[in-house]
């Protein structure tokens, strides 16, 4: 889908957020960008989304051109919903910005809300929903345009552990059924090991990609009890420690 070669980004403040980062994204991938704060993982995600431009290096899309609006979904750490709009209207937003009327969008909104488990909450306002449900709305909003690429920037970091586990499991189910490519930024080794097929370790000052690790953890209801999962967590932890030393 995308080849990132030797990408660098330096902010006007002088901070080198990213140096010489190279990464290959294939269709259907579930990639976790894992590292401590300041390692450039969010910067890399913003570059992929086209929200920022690299100072050096290139992003080459297999399609020959960057994705059109709606082909990329983006989920932030906060749900970032419009507080005055209902659940359905919040999910409508990406379609509305492309000139699609509410009536035309209705089937897509209903389908995606059912997918994320928010059926019956169409007319609720964000403040009436829990943090986990707001994040579901945010995910539904990212999915309503049927994107080929879903970018997520620490989406579950602000949630409590029980809600986070539920949303992680639901995200895997969504990925399995939709089949879009996911790039997931996280600073949690457990989260990266649980979700990703490929874990990209990143280190700070300057932000760079240290190494990539493939996961063979089989995803099931009790993945967290799987010895392969525990082994992967340990392997990532050791690798991270070695890289940060």
């Amino acid at each position: 889908m995308l080849t990132i070669s030797s990408v660098g980004r330096r902010f006007p403040t002088g901070t080198e957020a990213l140096r010489d980062a190279s990464l290959r994204l294939n269709a259907g991938d579930f990639v976790a960008l894992l590292g401590p704060s300041g390692c450039g993982k969010s910067t890399l995600l913003r570059l992929i989304a086209g929200l920022d431009r690299p100072d050096s290096g290139t992003l080459t899309w297999d399609a020959g051109q960057p994705p059109a609006p709606g082909e990329v979904g983006y989920v932030f750490q906060d749900a970032t919903l419009l507080p005055w709009a209902s659940t359905a209207d919040n999910v409508w937003l990406p379609l509305r910005l492309r000139g699609i009327s509410r009536d035309q969008a209705e089937p897509a909104i209903a389908a995606v809300l059912a997918r994320v488990g928010l059926k019956g909450f169409e007319s609720s306002r964000p403040r009436q929903l829990s943090g986990g449900m707001r994040m579901r709305v945010s995910i539904a909003r990212a999915l309503v345009t049927k994107p080929r690429l879903l970018l997520m920037d620490e989406p579950f970091a602000a949630l409590d552990e029980f809600t986070r586990h539920k949303l992680q499991a639901d995200l895997l189910a969504l990925h399995a059924s939709i089949g879009c490519t996911v790039v997931f930024v996280t600073h949690s080794i457990y989260e990266a090991a649980f979700l990703a097929r490929r874990v990209v370790l990143m280190t700070p000052r300057p932000g760079r990609i240290a190494r990539e690790m493939d996961s063979s953890v089989s995803h099931s209801a009790d993945t967290r009890l799987d010895p392969a999962y525990a082994a992967l967590v340990a392997e990532i932890s050791q690798a991270m420690e070695a890289e940060l030393r």
Binding site: R46, A49, G50, L51, P69, G70, V72, Y74, F76, D78, T80, L82, P83, W84, A85, S86, L93, P94, R96, L97, R98, R125, T145
Partner: protein
């Protein structure tokens, strides 16, 4: 229940105390009239005072309307263009820190027409909270939402209409409430400065007139009317703001 009636009870107590002190100490009416004398002065000429109140309120509301339109549109202009922001911001602050009584005489001379000059004075005072609040509200959405709009190809116009204006509405409404009170103050100050050379019909003019004639009860009656008007404007605009927000579903 008790906290709600407490202010009324306290007010009644103060009135009774005021009346008794005035009567027992035999304070002359040209120094301090009792509340009953004030009510008597109002009842002696309710029409005259109410017409004056209507005149002051007309100035207040016209000024508030002009300030809302000017303040709102200039904040929007500022939000959409950095150049406009650099050009407008310092002047808006300069206008805010200039005391109205100092510029009111100039305005009254320049504008000529008494009603218009009063409106201009009151508008100057009412402008800033509306302008500053709307500007703050327009800038209030988190940058991530701006990114999201950009991601879906929304231009400045769509971002303004679908994101920044709705976000600014509560800020604008609370600015309106603050400015409502200020517009009344501005109208009264301008009337006082204009004196007999002004519109000669507002409540502030009645206060001046009564003070020249040492008609203290009438002066107090006009003062009470002004206070009641100020309180009503504050509560009225507060209720208006809540109603608008409820209709918008963000109540």
């Amino acid at each position: 229940m008790i906290p709600r009636i407490a202010p009324f009870f306290f007010g009644l107590l103060a009135l009774v105390l005021w009346e008794s002190v005035v009567r027992l100490a035999e304070v002359p009416v040209y120094i301090l009239p009792g509340p009953l004398a004030v009510v008597g002065a109002f009842l002696a000429d309710p029409g005259g005072l109410l017409v004056s109140l209507a005149s002051t309120l007309t100035v207040t509301f016209v000024a508030l309307l002009v300030a809302a339109v000017l303040g709102g549109s200039m904040a929007i202009a500022m939000a959409t263009s950095r150049m406009a922001q650099a050009a407008i911001q310092p002047w808006a602050v300069a206008l805010q820190v200039t005391p109205l009584p100092a510029i009111a005489p100039l305005i009254i001379i320049w504008v000529g027409d008494p009603f218009t000059s009063l409106v201009v004075c009151a508008t100057i005072v009412a402008f800033f909270p509306l302008f500053a609040n709307t500007a703050t509200g327009l800038a209030s959405p988190p940058p991530e939402l701006g990114d999201l709009f950009g991601l879906y190809g929304a231009g400045r116009w769509k971002t303004l209409v679908l994101l920044r204006l709705p976000a600014a509405l509560p800020y604008f409404l609370s600015g309106l409430r603050i400015s409502g009170g200020l517009a009344l103050v501005g109208a009264v100050v301008a009337e006082l400065v204009a004196g007999s050379g002004g519109f000669a019909s507002g409540l502030a003019y009645r206060i001046l007139e009564a003070s020249f004639r040492l008609e203290m009860p009438r002066m107090f009656a006009a003062l009470v009317l002004l206070a009641v008007a100020g309180i009503s404007i504050n509560f009225g605009l507060g209720a208006f703001g809540r109603a608008v927000l409820r209709r918008w579903g963000d109540g």
